[in-house]
Symmetry: C2
Subunit: 572 residues, 2 copies
């Protein structure tokens, strides 16, 4: 190579390097997790907060950035991890933040450094992934903007960020004991729904519309921890509402009085825009919707969030859409939007079926290499109530899989592959004939870069006539949602798969007595949780573990291995 050519090449490289360094930033965060006294719904309890805040700080980054979170555990006796929900952790599976799967829980007093790239723009969030620490309040928003110079396929003038959650007055420690007791004690419905960590339990913002005055009108100055975060808007603008649900249990429906919602993004992927009056959002999902402020600006409007899929014993979560310069204290003239009837499943299906990938989105491979069918059942194990997948209720091992599998350890988990399907004779429309399940911790190991179909098959619970909603979340990947169906999935249903414009998501619901078909490419070396995002369901065993290409995983930070047999092996 001539010296001129070399000089030119170096010049180009230098230029590229400068461009990259200008665009991609490393965003450092120092976080301490600790318990705080807090009043999320005007009643004081203990929450798990970060840096003295609940919810935790919002992370904002640009696609291509590297996020570094130095997470110090300031709890007294509990470990902690944080999962970055929707971030695929390409090349950094040890930063996925799942205790027992991707890393050892961070011990009290210790610091773990999460370092990962946010490769794609979108609306994400983060949360605890150990025990029921998400329910305890360990969550926050993670928003990734488009790389500089790139354009969204839609226009908007401003943004509003809504992180939705549900809140119990019983501590998660007690909830966990109840779930693991015989007789079983269910956590029941939450006391409150929170919007950005704010709800109202002992009063209502909308009491004045109610004939029954069972709950008094809230008397809030606005500075309370439970005062609603008012959504201030200007007239005739378009706002992007970034909405994510990190509920422990509730499936939600959101509506804004007098306004249409145009859905444009789901789980960090663009969708064909569609307009609705109200939208469903399941735990683990995130959406962007466009809101046009085209209504009478002398009035304010309710934003309401209500429970779907379970008999709603929890009052709506409320806040106000405030048209500036109208005073935010002017209550809207009409009551908040009524949440669709909790068991109007058709309404939910109609919404979910509208979600299609935006033209130009990556298409799924037309065929798959392997199909696994996962039957979701409620069961008993040794008298305890559990959830099981193909009759196996997941119990996570004390040595995390990622280290175990990379190091080739034996005896840390069951090396036999868990069942790929269920007994054809199983009647999904009725309670199990034999309610007893097994416990297990086997791994579905996929060939690297193979295409996998997963059929999630719902069934009747232990109670006659009951089948519940389960939003399933996959770590480390997006999947295409190829279709939904009622009853038992049949081979013939393959023909109905949508291969044209299936949405790419990381969380998909299975409807009562129905099935959901997913396809994904196992192209991310690591070990990945795939589970019902209802936290008490996962706690009761409703999940499986996927792995691919673990031998290709790079050097795992030793602090992620410092527990169980991975620690002991290296320590000996």
């Amino acid at each position: 190579m001539g010296s001129l050519k070399l000089a030119l090449l170096c010049g180009v490289l230098l230029c590229l390097l400068v461009q990259v360094s200008l665009a991609a930033k490393v965003r450092h965060h120092k976080w301490a997790v600790e318990y705080l006294f807090w009043s999320p719904d005007c009643v004081e309890h203990v929450v798990m907060g970060i840096n003295g805040q609940f919810p935790g700080p919002t992370i904002r980054a640009t696609a291509g950035d590297t996020i570094v979170v130095e997470l110090t555990n300031k709890l007294n006796t509990e470990g902690v991890v944080i999962h970055w929900h929707g971030i695929r952790q390409l090349g950094t599976p040890w930063a996925d933040g799942t205790a027992s799967i991707s890393q050892c829980a961070i011990n009290p007093g210790d610091t773990f450094i999460y370092r990962f790239k946010v490769d794609r723009p979108g609306t994400y969030f983060y949360h605890g992934h150990y025990g029921m620490q998400r329910s305890a309040g360990l969550y926050g928003s993670l928003i990734v903007d488009l790389a500089e110079g790139k354009k969204e396929p839609f226009h908007y003038d401003g943004e509003l960020n809504l992180l939705l959650s549900d809140w119990w007055h019983q501590s998660v420690h007690e909830q966990e004991v109840g779930l693991s007791s015989n007789p079983f004690r269910w956590i029941n419905e939450s006391q409150s729904l929170l919007i950005n960590g704010r709800g109202q339990y002992n009063c209502s913002l909308a009491a004045k519309y109610s004939n029954s005055s069972s709950v008094p009108e809230c008397k809030l100055r606005g500075s309370e921890q439970c005062a609603p975060q008012i959504l201030h808007v200007e007239r005739n603008k378009t706002y992007r509402l970034r909405i994510a649900s990190t509920t422990a249990l509730a499936s939600l429906n959101l509506a804004i009085g007098g306004h249409k919602l145009v859905v444009v993004e789901a789980d960090g992927n663009y969708v064909q825009p569609f307009a609705v009056d109200d939208m469903d959002i399941y735990s683990g999902e995130s959406y962007s919707v466009l809101l046009r402020t085209d209504q009478d600006p002398t009035k304010n409007y309710w934003l309401s969030v209500g429970v779907r899929g379970r008999e709603p014993k929890t009052p709506q979560g409320l806040t106000i859409l405030n048209y500036k310069p109208t005073s935010a204290s002017h209550l809207p003239p009409i009551p908040p939007p009524v949440t669709p009837r909790w068991n109007d499943t058709d309404h939910s299906k109609a919404f979910t079926n509208k979600t299609r990938a935006l033209m130009g989105s990556p298409k799924p491979p037309t065929t798959s290499h392997r199909r696994i069918v996962l039957l979701n059942t409620q069961n008993k194990f040794d008298g305890f109530t559990k959830w099981a997948i193909n009759n196996v209720s997941l119990v996570l091992p004390s040595t995390p899989y990622l280290g175990s599998m990379k190091l080739g350890l034996k005896g840390t988990y069951n090396h036999a592959s868990p069942p790929e399907k269920y007994d054809e004779s199983y009647d999904v429309m009725n309670p199990p004939v034999n309610p007893n399940a097994n416990q297990g911790n086997g791994v579905y190991v996929f060939d690297l870069n193979s295409t996998v179909d997963v059929i999630l098959q719902n069934a009747n619970t232990l109670t006659t006539g009951v089948s519940e909603i389960h939003p399933w979340h996959l770590h480390g990947h997006d999947f295409w949602v190829l279709g939904y169906g009622d009853g038992k999935f049949k081979e013939a249903d393959v023909k109905k798969f949508n291969l044209k414009n299936p949405p790419l998501k990381n969380t998909a619901v299975i409807f009562p007595y129905g099935w959901t078909a997913l396809r994904f490419v196992a192209d991310n070396p690591g070990v990945w949780a795939f589970h019902c995002h209802i936290e008490p369901h996962l706690h009761m065993g409703m999940g499986v573990v996927f792995a691919e290409g673990v031998k290709k995983v790079g050097r795992i930070p030793s602090s992620a291995l410092a527990c169980g047999l991975t620690a002991r092996m290296v320590a000996n």
Copy 2:
């Protein structure tokens, strides 16, 4: 050596081996720690139990036995350890069960094997030593009988075992958050006192004696978790009451209506028998007292336990001494013994000063190699309320000392020795002029086999006119209690030391505004906690760390090292 001699020697050795193996047993226990719903005082809450029991199972062994406890952590997100209170762990410092000091906390799902010899007979107990897990209910009795063929220096016909504790309705997690909050939230007085894990909160066994009927009579069938454990005795016998206090906060006084108590053992050491009508027992202490059943056998008698040293807002703990064959349901004709006035410190001092070593007990060295004076103060650190020793409030490191020191790691704790004395001008009779303390985790390192004097110096708290009781407990050793005094310890007080028959103990109280002088021989290679046994006080920094001969410590089990820098160092 001739072959005959060799054969004879071998014969003798064999014979010795057989004798040893006949006498000394290995006692295996498999324990699982988990939370349980329980009603210790007739109100259901969550307790930390073992094998489904609260309190945990009683360990009974014979001097010389080896106890093996395979402890499995069945908590969801919390680590756990168990300290064997009063067992010196000669040669097994890693089995002392102190998180951050002797071992890494056992992670959820993991099992740690405690294996240690009980070298001396006596009345002991065990308890959690991580966060405030003792308060959560993690405790039980540990009783070591005399080796076969040996005789106690007193006679008794039967035994009764009483483990005393206090119980809060607020969870320890909330208590911990309150203690670590600014403004400070104190845990306040306990709801109940428990005798063998049983108390009565919403009713009283002794309501009928009371003129005020604020609390109803208990209606208990006897099978309830909160029903008192009746002490069944026969007439004209001598019973050995083994009494231990594992209270989180309360100093106690115990009395039995109409009966004298003859104290014969304290903290596993014989004392010169002395008779009292009532006895004090501080958290961390254990006693044996002889009870002669010489009263009218047609009646029953109250055993009462009440709070000393703090304004008693907690009702007495009660149970019944039942003379067989009188029915246990016959309430005693007279009310329970009245606990001495809470602030009658002279009464307490009188009791404590009666405790003298039994003739023939090991005597202290007449001089010491080193003296450290430890000033006990309540302080502020960065606005938080703390306790400090010589102005240092203890914050335990995340890497346990034992492994750190054995392996010679740097950066795991402060290698500078903490202060050996306090500023002479400090006024112990008034609140501190400068209330701000430092935080630290330095270690007092003693020469192996040296004799150490420790002067515990009490002081006024942050509140004018208040000085509190603190029972200090030493791990890994007994100490001789050389004396108690009022006000500031002075050099001249050395002359008053009792070197003739000072009692050997592992826990000793400092009285309000007083000092207590201890002497011990640093002859047990390891790292050892020395701390106020009031759990919230320790949590607020009221402790120090001692070490001696750590280089002579044997091979530490790797599972005790699998955390912090000890794990990372060996993992790299």
